[in-house]
Amino acid sequence: MLSVKGLRANVGENEILTGLDLEVGPGEIHAIMGPNGSGKSTFSHVLSGREGYEVTAGSVTFEGQDLLALEPEERAHRGVFLAFQYPVELPGVNNTYFLKAALNSIRKARGESELDAVSFLRLIKEKLKILHLNDSLLKRAVNAGFSGGEKKRNEIFQMALLEPKLAILDETDSGLDIDALRVVADGVNALRSPERSMIVVTHYQRLLDYIEPDRVHVLAKGRIIRSGGKELALELEEKGYGWILEQEQAA
């Protein structure tokens, strides 16, 4: 489904990704962990097509297609979704209007018919139910004045609505208390499906108590230095990142 090979990327003069390899199969959940500054967010942004990053080497193939050649909206049309670490506030842009514009843009790009207002509202209600959310978020401007928890829930809600094939959750746990974290994790778990792969980027093991990954990768200095099962996350929780970095340096 997703194949990343030898990916190198710069921000300005600095090389942040230094040869990253990653294979994600359909329906798999991969956790990417790593200390601050290891390149986690850069990787998320490069996958979703954010400006300001220069890919200097390597490739990213998504369902056989060169992902890096596509505009951000084209990636979304093909089923890539980024849940932002810091969802952007859009004052004056109504959340329902935004969701409808997003969904219909994607449907249109895929050659499907656009949803009318009634079918759209029906769909929205259905998704709210699955995620156990109430509809108060819908009437407000996108993320404007939302609490940290509300913003993250709105991200998961968008994911539920847009039904991506590959969801990248960029530090979705940051800034959340334990209750909000549980709500968000429950939402993510409700969206697990054999057709949906996820990359869960996180600094802490905590989120992985709720979202159980198939694979765990440790990212350091811009590349993956260790991969394993979910027990690797527990080991990291116990010992921190230091020991792996030391082993890596020794090797």
Partner: protein, 441 residues
């Protein structure tokens, strides 16, 4: 047009074939003469004059606009059906090229104590009703375009509400411009007077048939008695080749409230002067505005808020979206007199620039002569934030659509302040439509 370009506004005041309105009224003729003297005295102001520092009158004067002479009589409602807003339930007044046109208007039933009529008609039927009111707010000494309007006075909308009269439905003025063989100037003069405790909503829409070249030089005199409330929406969507001038003069007595929303989308060259004065305490004035300026378009706003008495509040909130080679001017001034303690005034002007070739001159000023006041002003000139654009695009929304959504989001605050759902929808659509074709360079 033959020969050298005109260098004065004399053509604006050529004689009308059907005669001058109110001929024989001494007081009116005196006002006209005085206005004409002022026009001659002022000549053509250059950019050395503060009021015209950012805006040259050259382009306007060169057109050599002639005064509207003939009434457009053949026009029927279905000729401009697409300009109507059917969902807007209003007392509708239609003016064509500056003339009140009863056959196209639909005033409906007006409650007791409310008079809605044409200026021309009222000057012949009951001139005394206008004697104190005409130039009562604009004053004797007038800036150039108000003086031109007075000197060339012909027709306009008159709305008079008696003490305590309440108008539930809005009055909607549709000022329609129809192109003539040669470029013409219409100078409507509107007089709106609300006695103590009266309440009304006024919607003005300046529209045109086609893309013709003409000029509208409108003057509004609004006077609010004690505790009166006027809600006022102005939508300017003149032809892309038109020149539009507005002088709005507002006087507010104690406890009165005025909420005005100015939407400027059309015309090649638009100048708006908003002049407000408080004459009694605890009055509130809320001026809001939204302008779009694209290629070969100038939007020029001058705002003059005079806090002459204590304990009044004013808000001036203007937002602009500029694209292509669009130009805008925001020159706002709040003056707080020495005795006007407890004044609460806040002025803001925010501009969203979609192109590097667009230009805005923004100059909000406070002149505070009292010491116990709450006053602020702020101005921003910015671009669409890349992270907002990326957020929308990452959700599958194309870059042009995303830009439009963000612009509409920026404008939302002002559009939302309009006083009718139907109008909000119409304006929102029109803004979206213009942004759809807006060049980004």
């Amino acid at each position: 047009m033959n020969g050298a370009a005109p260098t004065s506004f004399d053509t604006w005041l050529s004689a009308r074939a059907d005669g001058e309105v109110g001929a024989g009224l001494d007081w009116l003729e005196a006002q006209r003469r005085s206005a004409l003297d002022q026009v001659r005295e002022q000549g053509v102001p250059g950019t050395k004059q503060e009021a015209w520092r950012y805006t040259s009158l050259k382009r306007l004067i060169e057109q050599g606009f002639a005064r509207v002479e003939d009434e457009v009589t053949a026009l029927q409602l279905h000729d401009f059906e697409e300009l109507l807003i059917p969902e807007l339930d209003s007392h509708r007044v239609v003016m064509v090229n500056g003339r009140f046109t009863p056959s196209l208007s639909a005033l409906g039933d007006l409650p007791r104590g409310v008079r809605v009529t044409g200026l021309r008609a009222l000057l012949s039927s009951d001139p005394d009703a206008l004697r104190e009111r005409l130039n009562g707010v604009a004053g004797e000494s007038q800036p150039l375009f108000a003086a031109l309007n007075t000197a060339g006075l012909d027709d306009g909308l008159v709305v008079l509400l008696d003490r305590g009269a309440i108008l539930e439905r809005p009055i909607e003025l549709i000022h329609l411009s129809v192109g003539m063989d040669e470029p013409r100037v219409a100078q409507p003069r509107h007089v709106v007077s609300l006695a103590d405790g009266a309440q009304a909503t006024l919607i003005e829409r300046y529209v045109s048939l086609g893309e013709s070249l003409y000029c509208t030089n409108s003057v509004l005199e609004l006077s609010l008695g004690r505790d009166a409330v006027l809600k006022h929406d102005r939508i300017q969507v003149e032809s892309p080749n038109a020149f539009h001038i507005t002088g709005l003069y507002l006087s507010q007595d104690a406890g009165s409230r005025y909420v005005g929303v100015n939407i400027g989308l059309g015309a090649a060259w638009a100048r708006t002067d908003l002049v407000t004065r408080f004459s009694g305490e605890h009055a509130e004035c809320d001026l809001q505005g939204l302008y779009l300026a694209g290629d070969r378009q100038l939007m020029d706003y001058h705002i003059d808020v005079n806090h002459a008495v204590p304990s009044c509040s004013s808000r001036e909130t203007f937002k602009g979206i500029l694209y292509g080679k669009g130009r805008a001017v925001f020159d706002g001034r709040v003056v707080v007199a020495k005795d006007a303690q407890k004044t609460d005034a806040a002025m803001s002007n925010k501009n969203l620039m979609l192109s590097e070739n667009a230009e805005v001159d923004t100059k909000p000023q406070l002149e505070i002569n009292a010491d116990d006041v709450k006053c602020s002003h702020g101005t921003t000139v910015g671009q669409i934030e890349p992270e907002k654009l990326f957020y929308l695009r990452s959700r599958g929304i194309s870059a042009p659509f995303a830009r439009r959504m963000l612009c509409l989001g920026f404008a939302e605050e002002i559009i939302d302040a309009l006083h009718s759902d139907a109008l909000r929808e119409a304006v929102s659509e029109e803004v979206g439509r213009r942004l759809e074709t807006a060049p980004l360079t």
